[in-house]
């Protein structure tokens, strides 16, 4: 019997390896054990993101600002889209914040497992950490863009309301939805590389299906229930409500949207778990 240095009998942990069939539960305890690795993987993603770039973190400012300018010119100036009584640049920037977070979390999560093929083939750790860390790393960009938004708000002399305290919650919902879709697409991408080709279109289509460039009021009321199956509708609506004080969607619409998000997250997690055992053989 092995003993520790202090002579206390020590029972080594036992690992059992057997083929698993069907749906596999999510091992939260193991995920918690590996939290430091999650930290390091996220930290690595963030570190290498702006290495060897001349502008570095400035990109986190430039990207949403450029999108905002394009939107303001095309949709605000030429298209004369209504912006719920808010200056259009701020109106679109407020939506670009959660949208960019969502889009880059989703894109990175989708590519994550294939991109880590070397690690997947050479060492074990909970595979879920790969898309999770890819989803977390865009938070740095998000934080920077948020600072830019506050700057914009100060420039337009807009009030900072108490709704801002809800931003972390909305951000969390964004990440969970991105993660749910990311689980699905990351696992599918291992088997079908078509996903990698489809992702830019998916992201683009999804953006137009979300109220990023336009106001929800443009959607005919009878389409609203279908429209708000998209969880990003509620997130963006929430952001505008929290920051700009615009109208909130009806409660039932919000609940429906959140329910869809939850379904995507849970189904994605289970699909990922089911497929992950094949990753090292296929990737």
């Amino acid at each position: 019997m092995t003993k520790t240095e202090r002579g206390i009998p020590y029972k080594p942990p036992v690992t059992i390896i057997e083929p698993k069939k069907g749906w596999i539960p999510i091992d939260f305890r193991e995920l918690a054990q590996y939290r430091e690795l999650l930290f390091f993987l996220t930290w690595r993603d963030i570190l290498i993101r702006y290495k060897q770039t001349a502008l570095g973190v400035l990109w986190a400012v430039i990207q949403p600002l450029v999108s905002m300018v394009i939107f303001s010119v095309v949709f605000g100036r030429f298209g004369k889209l209504p912006s719920e009584g808010v200056p259009y640049p701020v109106f679109s920037f407020t939506a670009l914040l959660p949208w960019n977070l969502f889009a880059s979390a989703l894109t990175r999560a989708t590519a994550s497992v294939v991109g880590s093929s070397n690690m997947v083939k050479k060492i074990y750790f909970p595979r879920m950490l790969i898309p999770i860390s890819s989803t977390l790393s865009p938070l740095v960009d998000f934080a920077i863009s948020l600072a830019v938004l506050f700057g914009l708000m100060a420039y337009y002399r807009m009030p900072f309301g108490w709704g801002l305290w809800l931003l972390p919650l909305l951000m969390l919902i964004t990440l969970f939805v991105a993660l749910g879709v990311g689980f699905w697409l990351a696992a599918l991408n291992v088997k079908y590389r078509d996903v990698g080709h489809a992702i830019p279109f998916l992201v683009q289509a999804w953006m137009y299906a979300s109220p990023v460039a336009y106001a929800i009021s443009l959607i005919p009321p009878r389409w609203l229930p279908l429209y708000s199956l998209n969880p990003m509708v509620v997130v963006i609506n929430g952001f505008r409500w929290a920051i700009l004080g615009t109208a909130l969607l009806p409660r039932n619409t919000i609940l429906l949207s959140l329910a869809t998000g939850l379904v995507i997250l849970v189904s994605g997690a289970f699909y990922f778990r089911r497929m992950e055992k094949t990753f090292s053989d296929v990737v």
Binding site: I16, I17, E18, P19, K51, N118, K121
Partner: protein, 425 residues
């Protein structure tokens, strides 16, 4: 055996691969195309398309044992290691591991070119399952072991491959699992660093840790492992003493008492054989080797890249793995340059071979000018040295297993006649 003494039990372990599915990914198009293709009676993939990379593998390893796993390429060594380290799932069977498991299928997993040595140490340590506190505490030791102190804050893309490997191995060397699963990772760096790694591994082995060591390097297996498992086509062909396992591995690979060895397809570790490949070695044209008789050795090689200042070497080891006789082509300082695509033959002859009759294991290798190993085939075959008329009869009849060098010498005698009176005093 008491249960608590056991570190690893493997029961009926097996892993099936579908040929075609292996290493290939499907596209949606293939899937759609397949759905419309008429199938013969809707049959499932034929058995011929299924291979068992591992089948009916049963073994037990006690705590503190260091066990080697050897076998040809495709024998299932890597698959076994991947199952034990949870990277891939078995198709059938069960494994129980008692203790914290650390696996090392590669050094430097997760290293990123853009990150500095310091950043990579932390990242890689975390990937290997070390806690941040643990890495922090041992950071200085890790860096000292790696010998790259001066460059620790430089991105690793500026490292030489040797420095990169040293740093990568150093992190791994400080893992403290109770069960360590290791694959071929020692085939890195220069000879001196390899020795240091082997030393570190040996140190680990004496700390009561259980180690499963997969390698093509027979001398490393021999010096580290008390027991060895020989895998052949996915099954255990032999399990027991390391010396016997290696003997069987070497004799399985060749016809009995052959003096003409095809080496082209023998698996190499790491980069060996990628620039220059030794394909064949013959002793006396393949006819035999005799103690006390002349010996001619010739090597066929081909160059897959331009190589400079090349030298060759052949070594004879006793069955316990000790090198007792070496022939190096560069001892007189004779080194040659070869161009990519060039193939040739290098030979030397010996007026008399002084190895006494026994079976010896062969080491064959080639180096380039900067002492970079071009090809290395440690213990790649066994040569039976036969007795000849020059062999003293008592030696010729002796059982094998004591091989050595026997050089005929002329003895001179000086004696003094004894004085019985004084010696009786």
């Amino acid at each position: 055996m008491i249960m608590s003494d056991i570190a690893i039990i493997s029961e009926n372990l097996g892993k099936k691969f579908q040929i075609g599915a292996l290493q290939q990914y499907e596209t949606l198009r293939d899937r759609v195309a397949a759905a419309f293709r008429p199938r013969a009676g809707g049959s499932r993939p034929k058995d011929a398309e299924v291979i068992w990379a591992l089948k009916d593998v049963n073994f037990k390893i006690k705590q503190g044992e260091v066990v080697g796993v050897i076998g040809r390429n495709g024998a299932g060594k890597s698959t076994l290691l991947k199952i034990l380290s949870k990277i891939t799932e078995p198709t059938v069977g069960r494994v129980e591991l008692h203790g914290r498991v650390g696996s090392l299928l590669e050094v430097g997993t997760g290293f990123h070119q853009e990150l500095t040595g310091r950043e990579n140490v932390f990242l890689n340590g975390a990937i290997l399952g070390m806690r941040r506190e643990e890495i922090k505490r041992r950071f200085d030791e890790i860096v000292a072991f790696s010998e790259v102190e001066r460059f620790i804050d430089t991105p690793v893309k500026h490292y030489s491959s040797g420095m990169y490997m040293r740093l990568a191995f150093a992190v791994a060397a400080f893992m403290e699992p109770e069960i360590l699963l290791v694959d071929e990772v020692l085939a890195v760096g220069d000879a001196q660093f390899q020795k240091k790694c082997l030393g570190k591994m040996g140190e680990v082995a004496t700390q009561g840790r259980t180690i499963l060591f997969v390698s093509h390097n027979m001398s490393a297996v021999r010096s580290l492992c008390g027991r060895t498992i020989l895998l052949d086509s996915g099954s255990i062909a032999f399990e027991g003493s390391t010396i016997q396992a290696i003997d069987q591995y070497l004799t399985d690979n060749q016809e009995k008492n052959s003096y003409n060895f095809a080496l082209g397809n023998i698996p190499r570790t790491g980069h060996f054989g990628s620039k220059l490949r030794i394909n064949q070695i013959r002793f006396n044209g393949g006819s035999g080797v005799w103690h006390g008789q002349p010996m001619e050795v010739d090597i066929d090689f081909e160059c897959l890249a331009d190589v400079e200042e090349v030298s060759f070497g052949v070594g004879f080891c006793t069955r316990s793995g000790v090198r007792i006789l070496s022939f190096d082509s560069d001892v007189p300082g004779d080194r040659r340059n070869f161009a990519r695509g060039e193939a040739g033959n290098a030979s030397f002859s010996l007026p008399v071979l002084h190895l006494e009759p026994d079976t010896y294991n062969l080491d064959i290798g080639s180096r380039s000018g900067d002492n970079f190993g071009l090809d290395y085939l440690p213990q790649c075959g066994c040569v039976l040295v036969q007795p000849s008329g020059a062999t003293p009869p008592v030696i010729a009849m002796r059982e094998s297993g004591r091989g050595g060098i026997r050089i005929p010498t002329e003895w001179r005698y000086q004696t003094v006649k004894g004085n019985s009176a004084s010696s009786a005093k």
